[in-house]
């Protein structure tokens, strides 16, 4: 196999470019069986927003160990650890592919194919200076229940296997460099002026602000240049700014973002103190309309035509699954986080790179091998349940006992799930 191809295949990590740190399930989950219905009904509930509760600091030293354990540096800079080595570093590897510095000698057609695959997976926010920007309680809540903060960034923070205590320790570590800021209450700014400034300064060219009247511009990553791409896709939805920042830190940030986080894409806008205060007033005080519901896509019935492994592999397994679940013997010992282990997950020994590997199942939390076709309580095969669970996660309805797959990546389409389900129903023909 081509060496570049092997490395690309390990881009497992492609699968997990993230939007912040690491995330969780609150309680250890027994093995594969969900306690409830696999497919929850469509819901109008918006993604969760961190509750305003006083943060009780945890153990920062333990948090540091956890940041290492959950391998946050595979996607993020600014974790306090060296970036992961290239073949385990999603973002850097993808950036090198796009820049043409990775696999320079691979055939042009291969490189073009890689670029097409990874184009949307080149960015993850840096965690540097987090303490001077973000509220620790928000960081903790986000680690526990990640949601889509950056609507134009295709990948999102994965649901990791983190307990509440672990999330607290990690948030304590990640925000440890916090400088004291004066409390601003009430915010002495003019919210109307703040809205005007938001429009005049073209904030909408990078940021969405859902829940308020549309800003005159809209971010469009497709229109972004090489230089502006990262800024566009990493700019958070401003609806969450009030949860993420204290008013004092927001003012400081607006006045001179680079003095707080030198690697930020956020430019300084020559604001006066009064301007920053007015912007903060609008960002914090303006009434937010609820987010429009994101329904869970309708599950399609099984097809009445033959579906063989080759089709499932081409349309589903090969597209995403095998980047994290591969055969370590074929990939220099690392079968990806979903096989050899990674992101805090133990080795699951799951291999979607071949028919036989797919049939061989995975090691569940009980330490036993289970088939990926094992039926859940409602009769849905485990593999299908995981794909459906990701759709539910995207709709803001995570299923507690089932981690959605692909982890941190867009959910499989109903048509892809239909192909998998049909193939399983037909006895998994080779």
């Amino acid at each position: 196999m081509m060496r570049g191809g092997r490395l690309l295949a390990r881009l497992p990590l492609l699968a997990m470019v993230v939007a912040l740190g690491c995330k969780t399930e609150r309680h250890p989950v027994p093995s594969p069986e969900p306690s409830a219905e696999v497919t929850p009904p469509p819901s109008a509930a918006p993604p969760p927003v961190a509750a305003k509760v006083a943060f009780v600091p945890g153990d920062a030293a333990h948090g540091k160990k956890l940041v290492e354990k959950f391998e946050c540096s595979r996607c993020h800079m600014g974790t306090g650890f060296e970036p992961a080595r290239l073949d385990q570093n999603c973002v850097t590897c993808h950036q090198e592919i796009m820049a043409g510095t990775f696999g320079r000698n691979a055939p042009a057609t291969e490189r073009a194919r890689w670029k097409k695959t990874v184009a949307d997976y080149q960015d993850a926010p840096s965690l540097a200076a987090m303490g001077d920007r973000l509220e620790p309680e928000w960081v903790m809540a986000y680690i526990l229940e990640p949601h889509d903060v950056r609507p134009t960034l295709v990948p999102s923070m994965p649901r990791l296997d983190v307990t509440e205590k672990q999330a607290r320790d990690m948030a304590t570590y990640l925000t440890a460099n916090r400088k004291p800021a004066k409390k601003i209450s009430p915010i002495k700014g003019d919210a109307k002026k703040g809205r005007r400034l938001l429009e005049d300064k073209s904030c909408g060219s990078c940021h969405l602000f859902t829940g308020v009247p549309d800003l005159p511009m809209k971010p469009d990553p497709k229109e972004a240049t090489k230089e502006t791409r990262a800024g566009t896709v990493l700019a958070p939805d401003l609806r969450y700014a009030r949860d993420r920042y204290s008013p004092a830190n927001m003012v400081r940030w607006l006045l001179d973002p680079k003095s707080i986080k030198p690697d930020t894409n956020m430019p300084a806008h020559s604001l006066t103190q009064a301007d920053a205060m007015s912007l903060t007033a609008y960002l914090v005080e303006t009434k937010l309309a609820p987010l429009p519901p994101k329904p869970i896509p309708k599950r399609l019935p099984v097809l009445d035509r033959k579906v063989k492994y080759e089709e499932v592999d081409e349309k589903v397994f090969h597209v995403t699954c095998r980047h994290c679940h591969a055969d370590p013997d074929a990939l220099m010992g690392d079968g990806g986080p979903g096989n050899t282990g990674g992101f805090g997950f133990p080795p699951r020994k799951l291999d979607f790179s071949t028919y036989r590997g797919t049939m061989a199942g995975y090691v569940a939390k009980d330490g036993e091998r289970h088939s990926v076709f094992e039926k859940m309580k409602d009769g849905t095969p485990r593999l299908v349940a995981s794909l459906l669970a990701r759709q539910a996660e995207e709709a803001g309805k995570p299923i507690p006992d089932i981690r959605g797959m692909p982890l941190g990546l867009p959910a499989a389409t109903p048509e892809q799930i239909q192909i998998v389900e049909t193939w399983i129903a037909q006895g998994r023909p080779r």
């Binding site: 196999m1 092997r6 013997d329 028919y355 036989r356 049939m359 091998r369 006895g427």
Partner: protein, 229 residues
């Protein structure tokens, strides 16, 4: 004769001289081609050969699969599963091909005799065939030891074991355990289970295994012959 010998010796000396000049003026890295060719080697010929062998095995071309392996690792029979992932993959392909060919790999059309080394691969004598099957079983056992709890290795080990009367009990035990958890990884595995169940007079169980085999591989001949079922 003498003249021919003289010319042959001179040619050898010139060739060795040329090699010495080139060999001693390059570093180790350059000796791999870096000094002369402006591209890095991307192909590991062993990996490439093993990839092709795995593909051939999947398609039921057992001699071709074995041929690929022996060409890239002529000494494979002496290698240990624990030595490297590449060796494990090579041993797996060769062992499974050997078992599915009943210890009789007709690889003389695939591999030149001087590369093939041991002629026992061909399994012309019954003793060679038995030895080949035992070798395949032992190789798969050693892979199983390294990979631990891998249904792929276990299914294939059971397939090989089922080829030898003395090991059929063990083969069935492995397959029944896997079947219980829906972890038999191939149509071949189900076909062997059907056969072993039939031999024990479990015709219902045999039919179930054969049905599953046909669901997986309906169009091939793998599931066509369950003896005594």
């Amino acid at each position: 004769m003498k003249i021919a010998k003289y010319i042959g010796t001179r040619a050898l000396v010139v060739a060795l001289g040329a090699f010495a000049v080139v060999g001693t003026t390059t570093t180790d890295a350059e000796a791999c081609g870096g000094a002369w060719i402006d591209f890095e080697m991307l192909l590991d010929f062993r990996d490439h050969g093993i990839d092709q062998a795995e593909e051939a095995l999947e398609e039921g071309r057992y001699e071709a699969a074995a041929g690929y392996i022996i060409r890239v690792m002529p000494h494979v029979r002496q290698l240990k599963a624990s030595s490297s992932p590449e060796v494990r993959r090579a041993l797996r392909v060769l062992s499974v091909a050997t078992a599915r060919s009943n210890g009789q790999l007709k690889i003389d059309r695939e591999v030149q005799s001087w590369v093939m080394g041991q002629k026992e691969w061909m399994g012309k004598k019954s003793e060679d065939r038995a030895n080949n099957l035992e070798w395949a079983i032992n190789s798969l056992r050693s892979i199983d030891k390294v990979k631990k709890d891998d249904p792929v290795v276990q299914t294939e080990l059971a397939e090989a074991l089922a080829k030898v009367d003395a090991h059929k009990g063990e083969a069935r035990e492995i397959l029944e355990k896997l079947a219980k958890k829906d972890l038999i990884v191939s149509a071949e595995g189900y076909a062997v289970l059907a056969e072993l169940r039939a031999e024990k007079g479990d015709s219902k169980g045999s039919k179930l295994a054969m049905d599953q085999c046909r669901k997986i591989d309906g169009e091939s001949t793998v599931c066509g012959t369950a003896r005594k079922s």
